[in-house]
Structures are given as structure tokens and as C-alpha cells.
Subunit: 371 residues, 4 copies
């Protein structure tokens, strides 16, 4: 029986994988069990954020040593989804997702955390277009299969990391007669995230294939997936997919739940997802329950209409601080205050991921000691 | 009998006082009743934040028209305390504090909000030194008298805006043979805030005069005032003091309460101060109680030890975003999430103001409809 | 005979007009002679740069006192073109353009500086569209007439300040059923600058009316005006136009010249414009010639192809510092190094203004003492 | 006879060493000849700039493959001095310094470029103190010996990269009872650079050992070395020293020269150093001479008195952009405009390195084809 484990580890800087190395060397983690990484590094989260590439290079070098495979191959097998930017109270950390196969294991809980992954390439000229959406959808379906999740309703969180267009890539594409959708790197990241969200929605049957075209991306915000979490970054050239859900076919004590956040002030959504896992915040999660929490995953977005509950915000008009850095810092302040821990994954750029102007939260917690 | 009122108003930009103008023209606010302003403008909160000066100039010009006094005189009579930086979900707004004297009024509640103000000049070379501390203490005592608050325990919030040193002022002072404590503008703002906090603590009998010397500022963090809120800015040359407390001698329906925040994740402090005012967040303040809240005032600080509850934060090591902008965004995200409103005053630079690495929160609410 | 004068004045902060006040009070400048201001304030130059509004409010209040006209009227008569952002070696300053009429004056030089101004409103929904281009062209023609410049070749510099779209204005326009060309404030500033440049080119007969349509803006960079300098900002709602040229009908000793800069490294363009005015940099302008220089006006642009002379630059991929702040700082470093003075007007956003990836430089100098 | 070569290479991102790899694989560079690297990466140059660590990790991995030595050893043998921040027109690049020993070589020019390197550890608690100064001086003397330069006047450029204090390191040192000079990371970088400059001045006999004490660092700016170039960064724990000079004992066609820059506008210093190498800028270096230039190394500093030639600058008062980023962008704009190439090393933080408020420039050029 397969069993999923999640190790949430801290880093001293983006090239510091010593915590994972210690677990591998000490025998707690088997290098070959590592199937995915989701983490927050301390960059700016934008096009020129190289903390993600630095971390990934270091990770793959470490795994390469222990697995005896070249890093260049591992990078195509193990999704490493990093969101740059630990604004405010967030703490740089990474969650290592492992799958072990224990023939002797028996089921302890009705359902337990199940994990599946997949990769799909996308060309620069397709970024943010229908071809991109479809490549994501295919990869998500493949990851669901791979996880052995039978019901789509048991999927709670689909993380996709999409490539984006840099000035250099755009120039090359134009020279090759294949102009990208936009040459503005920050805009291309937004289109890539939109395509990822549409792809997840398509794979999860949340929208129909004829419901959208290229123009719907970043325009028709009624289209959304409340379970999609999309990042985009300069360091990847393929879509990387991680599906997280619950399944009766898996052992282990972890379970995942998710909730929508209707806007950036929706503390209720945070309480809801915790309640779903049997955790009562009062108003903060008590210490013994904090220890049950293995991973907190949040997507959020500065409301593009320029106000929140009728009051003007200034995130979109700020030339000094990128709007995504603003919203990550604010929502992380809220969520970390409820869970009492800064090691949370809060990622901006939630276009089409959850309600417009809001986002989503997923939490993985142990069922052991629950109540 | 005197009665305090607080009008919380939004602005479209730092030079937009149209909301106040409308209230004055419409007769809701009498210009001569305005005694103080506390607000958040959308600058960066640093030395080069001119949104505060812009707002102040516009405000004084408006009051000048209605009061028939020159703006240059009003600016020495009406404290206008602005904190720059509406990071994340914060909404630019200002609270207008008014005192009206109604001989026919009778007491409705055992105690009600009382307001006192005072001004005290400080020379550039004294900024962040004992002479600065003492000038603040004297002004605070004067403002308490002025408010008619008899017990020091009834003081809940003392706002002081202190001058700081700019590169230009520092050069002038050095040329005059009176070197300032530091020539680094950001550092001088920190020293000024420390002096302000020490001054409040001295005036409120929280510390004894022989307990500290110049070296204690920004060094001995066991010295703190849980009721001090200090700002510093390039646009003022005097300490400006606003004392807020409760008094049986005042009419009106407002009351103020305060609580400490032990660190940036202390959501409990937020719930406590609300509970003190009879407001139950569940987890968010219900809409009818949101309407009772007149003003939310928060001070916070990036933990200088570099971690929060054992987990590293990156605010102090960030060359791109000033640490105060980080912490304001995070704590505002938390507090706004609980009260359901982005119109909150969250100000960074809480050195010696509440617990080290934490800060304080004060809320003014109507007692009408309370439970 | 009309005579143009230019006073280049420093400011201690964006609300400091004391240098102009002193000149007016001392009789050097007659308030009624002031026809335009061009200056650099120390904001960020973006949508949330309020230093421009602050300066303008202070200027108009000052002139209002001396002219006995309301500021609200003056603001519609005197173009006040401010570019925010004094990156690097630039020094905050403003040039006051004055016209005096001296019946007794006689011509000293074949041609002398001539100034004309005009205003033209533009609706939010028209920003960055053909209607915007045409409103600019009409205003430029009117300003040329107003300056009495007969030959278009004698026009050397046309400054236009255009309104842009903020999140708030965009929402209002959408609500009114008149969607703006873009809701992204930074993008709208770019479209506004493009429209301004097209308008100048049209007025100066550099392009024909059928040569472009809405889609040409920010797309067809073969269309450009080597004499257009366009700014855009949140604080104006009309196009404000200042035409600077030379004319035999004007007295005084000032003359203007201009040159294109082919890219951000084109030091040759700087030497050329100086040579045109009889000033030889060797490699820096000698002190006695520095004193002849009355005003230096530069437009520049980060090369959108991502490289300069074959080497990659990083301005467009930087999430921390806006690309316009990057290029202003670099080009100002070059120009200030040649002229030996940081009081230069260097403004970013040179789309369609001079060669693609480059820009333009205009200098006004006294002909007295020339060689 | 030993021969020095310098290869100036571009990178697509901080982890891109493909240009060097190509030269090694193609046989142009022998991996064992590489003795030092000086480069500019596209980070922010501050404490949280990880582009330097990323580049270094990638470089050492590459050399490790070709040299068959572990990267952990190479990092202690090959100084890799990176300055983060390619503001404005600067292009990310790195110069690879190689020494080859050719028994058959004969001297072509009276003197040619000579290179020496050395390493010296420094503890966190010593950073910015006399012990730090002395450790640097010892290492510089060792590198001069190592280069075989006999006369101190033949040393033209001494690059030192010093460790600094991060919040984490400071906390560890304090816990160990060894408090660092400062716990403010940016301030510790400044102290480290000062110690490096003092160490170079000491080694080059520019100052006497009794001329200074701990308090002189960052205070007595009459102490300076016109040949010191000091960087500081979070990624090194030893002082890394590279000495560049000319020597009759070396073959090859390269030669180095240096000049002081009296302030940030000193274009004359740039022309001087070029003239010293027989290169005449007119006003830009002609293309055939551009090709002779192998490396341009510049240090600069925002004038701490707040003005340049009597005009206020705003670099030190800017909360949004670090002052070092400002000055690098400006000075790079000037130097790149003269040499016609953005691949220049411009590093901020020039405290005690050249004239106060100014800095230094060194250029390495081929003597072949000179005139």
C-alpha cells in the first residue's frame, strides 16, 4: 500500500538543502521516495527571481548524488515548484513530498493523502494560449491517474508551474517567426498562470472545452478553478504538475482539504478548511494542533477592481513594490496569524484560481490525534 | 459637557480632503471642533515619503479657509499624524478627531473617549537623546491635563509624531557645530521613535527617570510603553502629541481600549481588545459591529532577532523592500482580516512600543448597540 | 519685443518653492511673466508618484497669492510639467519659463528662444487612441502659433504632459460604459506617451494623418518624432503643451538646439547638441560654459529588445526597480558627467520620441559669451 | 614565462556558465589556468542577493568536472568576486583571469599584466575591526608576492571580497558571546568594505599601522586607498584577494592602468585612464579600440554629504531604491557611454576607496595595436 509523507523543512538561504540532506543521510527520507517539492524562497517572485533556479540546482545536485542519476534527468522527473517572495512573516521553507510503498501497510483512515505528478512541455509561442491550456489539462489528467484518485471530487489541490516569456526568449521566438502572445515578461507570467488555471478546470470537468478561447484568458474571470494553484517562472520550460487529493487506496495518516477565499480579508475561509480537518482555531490554532499541520498552501490576488469591500487599495498603482508582493504579504499575515506559523506557502498570481479578487487555501494535516 | 467624535474618511490621493470638506460644508463637522488627525497615506513611510506633507498642506489650507486663520498657525495647533505606507489590504484614510462642547449634554455611559493634544519643539541635534525624551514627556503630561484625564490608567493610546534627521538637516547641524546623533536618515527615524516611546513611558509613570540614559535608546528593549505609538517623519519639526483615553467627565458614546501584541502572529491580542469593547469576532467581526468601530490603531515591528516563533523571517535582510513596509503589510493583513475592513492605521517602527518584536493595538468603538 | 528667460531653481523637497518666491519677492521674476514650468521631483515617476501634484499645488498657491487669481484657474493656464524620479546623480530642480514684453528691446542675435503653450482636454476612454493624438496635434499647432514661430524647422522641443488611467478612473469609465484602452495604469501611461508623440509628429508634419491608426501606438516604432518629449501622470486631466523653438521675432540671449540619441550609450549626441550651441566639452563642459547652460532636457527609453549594442540589459526584467527608473539613472549619469551638473531633466518613457531604444536631448544656452 | 589572459563573457542568467564551458571544451581556456573571476550578476547587490552564490556554485561545479577536484576545495582556491546589480545599461558578464606558463614565450612589451591571489579567513565578530584590516593586509602582501610584482607602484588594482554579518550569523555570534560590530546587515557590509580598504592601504604602504583604530572605519575618510576595490557579501566567509598589476617578468600583451574619480561626475578620470593605455575617446572609444579593452573595473559611492558639486542628490534618502543601486546605475551610465559597452564592472560601496564621494576606475587593455 502506498503512503504519502510530507516533510516541511527550513532553509538558511536558497542554496541550503542541508535539512533534507540530513534526513536522507539519517535514513528518515529515502531519496528515491521524493516525488515533488513545493516551497517558498526569498526572492521577489518576479521574472528576475533566481532564488528558484538556485534552489532547484542545489536540490537536483543533492538528489543526483544519492540516486546516481544525472541532475539533468531528475529535473524532468521531480516537479520542484517554488514560489519566490517571503514577504512579511513568511519563513523560507520547502515541503518534500514522498511516496513509499509498504506491502505490509494497512489502511488506518477511510481516506488518506494521495499524490500524482506529470510533466508537459510548452513552446514559448504557445504560452498563454489554448495549446497551453490543453497541454496542462492533459498533464493534470495524467497526474490524477498516476495518483490513483478515482473521483474528481477527491482532488483538492493541483499545483502547476508554467514557463513564461523573458525578453530574451521573446526576441528569439520573434526571430524564429513565432511571436509570443506578449513580450512583456510580467504579463506573460500572468497569461501562463491563466492558461494553467484553465487547464486544471478543464481536467477537473469544471469547465467545458467550448466554453473559452484565447481571448478568455485574463478577461473572463467567471471561469475559475477553486482547486488550481498556478505559478510561473523563468526557470522552467515545461509545465510541471502536482496533484494532491485523498484516496481510500492510500495508507498513511495525512489528509488534505481546501476552501475558497472570497477576498483577501476572508478569514472565514481559513477557519473553514481547518474545521474540515478537525482543527479548531480559537482564534489561533492550539500548539498541539499546529504540530498536526504538515503543509499550508494558499493562492491570492490583488483585487483588480482596485478596492476590497468598497475601500480603495493601492497595490496595483504602486511602482515601487510589485502588486503580488503586496498581496502575498497581507494574506500570509492573516493565515500565519491563524495557524501560528510563518512556514506557509502563499503564492500570488491567482488569476482564475478561486473567486476573482480572492483565492484558495489547502491544508494537509495528520488525522492522528484529531478530534 | 465635552464630547469626542471620530470621523473616519477615505481619500482618493494624498491631496484629496474632499470627504472632510463635504462634512464641513454640510454642517456635520464644525471646522473649529477639529483637534487632531491620524491617518494613513499611500507613500513608502520613509524619509522620502512626501505624501504626508502633501496631505498636511491640503488639510491646513482647507481648515484655513473655514477658520480664517493662516495655515502656518494651524499647523502648530492641530496635530496631523500621518503614517505613510498602505501596504497590502490597507486603504488610505484619515480619522478626524473632533471635540464639541455641549452645555446641555448629559452623561450616557460611565466613561467616554477623552482627547488631549500638545506640541513641543526639538532641535535636530537632540533627536534621539535624553533632551528629546524629556520634551516628549512634558508634552504628554500637558496633553493629559488638557484632556482632563485624572487617572493615568485611563490613558489608552498616546500618539507622538517626532521630527527626524535628513541628510540636509544633518549637514546643516554639523556645519553649526551641533552634530546629530546619526546622519543616517532611516536610523534617525528609529532613534526619534525610541525617544518618543521613552517620553510616553516617563509621562505615564511606566519607567523612572534614572532608569535610562542616551545609550538605552534602541538598545535596552526591556524598556517599553504598551500605550505609546510613535511615528517619525521629515515633515515635522516639533513633537506632536495626541492622548486618547476614557473619562467620566466626557459625554458621547465612544470608548477606547488597547492590548499588547506579543509578536506579529498574535491574533489573540486583536480578539482581546475587541472583547474589551464588547465585540466578538467569529472569526470576523460581524457587520453590525464593524459599523460600531470608529478607529483601529496598530503599531508593529519586524522582530530584530530575525525570527518569529523560531522560524526565520527575511524582512531585515531585504534590500528591495524596507522592513517596515514588510511588517505593516503583514500585520495589517491579520488585523483587517479580523475586523473585515482595510481602513486601519498600522504603523511600523514600534521600537520600545509594546513587547519587543510585537506591538500594540487600540480600538475606538461606539458603546451604542454594544452587548 | 518679446523676450524669453529661463530660471533653473533647486528645491529642498517637492513642496519647496522658496527659491521662486524669493525671485518674485525680490523683483527678479514678475509672477505674471511665468508661462510654464518644467522640473524634476524626487518621486518614482510612476502612477503613485504624488510629488508632482504636491509641487503643482504649492506652485499654484504661490502664484495665486501674487497674481490674485484662484489656483484652480492658473492650473488651466500655466503648464507645469514635472517628471518624477531623480535617480542617481540628478538633482531635484525646476526651470521657470518667463516671457516679458519690452517695447524698447532690440534684437541682439539672429534668432532667440521663443515659447508657446496650450491646453487640450482628453477623456479617459480616449487616452492612447487616435482622438488623443489629434487633440495633442491641435494643441501643438496652437502653441506654435502662440509662440509666433513661422518655420516648423525652428521648433526644437515640444513637451506634452498627458493624463493617464488609474485603477479608480478606469473603474469609473467602465461603469459609464466607456472602457479605456487599458486598465493597467503603467500601460496606460505608455499609451498616453505614444499618443502624445504621434500628436507632435502630426503637428510638425513629420508624419501624415493616414500613416497610422490606433494599432500603431506602441507597435510601429518607425513612427517617431525627434522633437517630442512626452510625460504622463495621474495628476493632470488635460494635455499640457509647451513648444520651445528659436525665432527672429524674439529678443533675449537664449537659444535652443536638439539632437537625437541613437541609444543609451550615445555620448556623441550629447556632444553634438552642445557643439550646435558653440559649447565644447573636453570631455566635460568647462565651468564658464556650464554657466551659459540654462536648461538640459532629455528623453530616454530602456531598449525593448533587451539589449544595447548586442549586450543584454536587465532593465525590463527587474521586478524590484521600474525600467524607467533604471534608464533615467543611467542616461542622467552620462549627460550630467558631460555637462558637469546634476540639474538636468531626464525623463523616461520615450516611446516614439527619437530613435527606438534611444531618445533625444535639447539644451537651452545663452548666446552671450559664446564662441 | 607567465602570461595573463582575460576572457570577458556574457551570461543569460546567474547560473549560466555556458560561455566558459564552451571555451574550456573548445580548448581556448585550460580549466587549470583559471585563477580568478570578477563579474557582475543581476541581483540587487545587497544582503539578500543570492545571484552571487548561484553563479559561484555553478562555476565551481563546472571547474570541478574539468579539474577532478571537489567544488568545496576549489572555492577556497579560486577567488570569485561578484558584484550584484546590473542597474541601467550594465550587462551581466564575468571576466575570467587565466595564467598560463609558456617556457618558450618571450617578452613583447616592457611590462605586462601580472596576477596574484590569496585567501584569509575572518570571524564574524572581527568583521569591520582592526583584526579584519590586518588579515586583509597580510593576504594582499601574499598575493603581491604570489604575482611576482616587485614595486608597489606597479600594483594598480586590488580586489577584495569580504564576508559580512547576516541577521542569522549575528544571532549565532551573540549567542556565542562574541557580538559583531553591528547586527545590521547592510551596515556590516559597509564596515567590511572599510576594513578591506584599510587593509589594502596598509599593504601598499599608503597608510601607517598607527594611523588608525577601530573608530577610524567609516569615520575618517581622509584614509583611503586609490587602488582598493572592496566588495562584501553574504556568500563568502573568507577575504578573497586578487592583485592586478604590471610586471616586466610577465609576457602577454595586456596592461592595466588606473585613475581616481573625484566624484560621480568625473568623466575626466575615465578619459585619463584610457589615455594612459593609449586609447583616445572622441568622445566615445572608437570601435577598434573598444576591441582592445579586456576589462573595465569601477568603484563608486553616493556622496554622503548629500550633494554633488553643490546640488542636492536624493540617493541616501530613498526608501525604495538602495543608494548603492542608484550610484552604480549613474556611474555605469557615464563609463559605458565613454567606452561604448555595457559589459563593465561597476561596484558600489567605495568607502575609503578613492576620494570621498568618488571612487576609482581601472582598465585592462591589449597593448597590441595601441598607438
Amino acid at each position: 500500500m502506498k503512503r504519502a509523507q510530507v516533510f516541511r523543512l527550513s532553509m538558511a538561504h536558497p542554496g541550503d538543502l542541508s535539512a533534507l540532506e540530513k534526513l536522507i543521510v539519517g535514513g528518515t527520507v529515502r531519496a528515491s521516495d521524493v516525488v515533488a517539492i513545493i516551497g517558498k524562497t526569498e526572492g521577489n517572485g518576479g521574472v528576475n527571481d533566481f532564488t528558484r533556479g538556485y534552489f532547484t540546482q542545489t536540490l537536483m545536485a543533492l538528489l543526483s548524488v544519492h540516486l546516481g542519476k544525472p541532475a539533468s534527468q531528475l529535473i524532468k522527473e521531480i516537479p520542484c515548484v517554488l514560489s519566490g517572495g517571503t514577504e512579511g512573516v513568511m519563513s523560507p521553507h520547502y515541503s518534500v513530498f514522498c511516496i513509499s510503498d509498504d506491502p505490509a501497510a494497512t489502511r488506518q483512515y477511510p481516506k488518506a493523502l494521495a499524490i500524482g505528478t506529470a510533466f508537459a512541455p510548452v513552446a514559448v509561442e504557445n504560452v498563454g494560449r489554448r495549446a497551453h491550456v490543453e497541454s496542462v489539462a492533459t498533464a493534470v489528467r495524467q497526474a490524477i491517474d498516476n495518483a490513483g484518485i478515482e473521483k474528481l471530487e477527491d482532488v483538492h489541490f493541483v499545483q502547476v508551474k508554467c514557463p513564461c516569456v523573458t525578453v530574451a526568449r521573446a526576441s528569439a521566438a520573434i526571430a524564429a517567426g513565432k511571436p509570443p502572445r506578449t513580450t512583456d515578461p510580467n504579463r506573460s507570467m500572468a497569461f501562463a498562470r491563466a492558461a494553467g488555471a484553465f487547464g486544471v478546470a478543464l481536467a477537473l470537468d469544471e469547465i467545458k472545452p467550448d466554453r473559452f478561447n484565447d481571448d478568455s484568458l485574463l478577461a473572463d474571470f467567471t471561469i475559475q478553478s477553486p482547486r488550481a494553484s498556478i505559478s510561473s517562472g523563468v526557470e522552467v520550460e515545461s509545465n510541471e504538475v502536482i496533484v494532491l487529493g485523498n484516496s481510500p487506496a492510500w495508507g498513511g495518516d495525512l489528509r488534505i482539504a481546501h476552501a475558497s477565499m472570497s477576498d483577501a480579508l476572508d478569514i472565514g475561509g481559513v477557519f473553514d478548511v481547518l474545521a474540515d480537518l478537525g482543527i479548531k482555531a480559537n482564534p489561533q490554532v492550539p500548539v498541539r494542533d499546529t504540530e498536526r499541520i504538515a503543509c499550508v498552501l494558499v493562492k491570492c490576488e490583488p483585487d483588480r477592481r482596485g478596492n476590497i469591500r468598497g475601500h480603495r487599495h493601492t497595490m496595483l498603482d504602486d511602482t515601487d513594490i510589485n502588486a503580488q508582493r503586496h498581496i502575498r504579504g497581507a494574506v500570509a499575515g492573516l493565515v500565519a496569524g491563524v495557524v501560528g506559523d510563518g512556514r506557509i506557502f502563499v503564492s500570488g498570481g491567482a488569476e482564475h484560481q478561486g473567486p476573482d479578487g480572492g483565492g484558495l487555501i489547502a491544508v494537509i494535516a495528520s488525522q492522528r490525534g484529531g478530534h
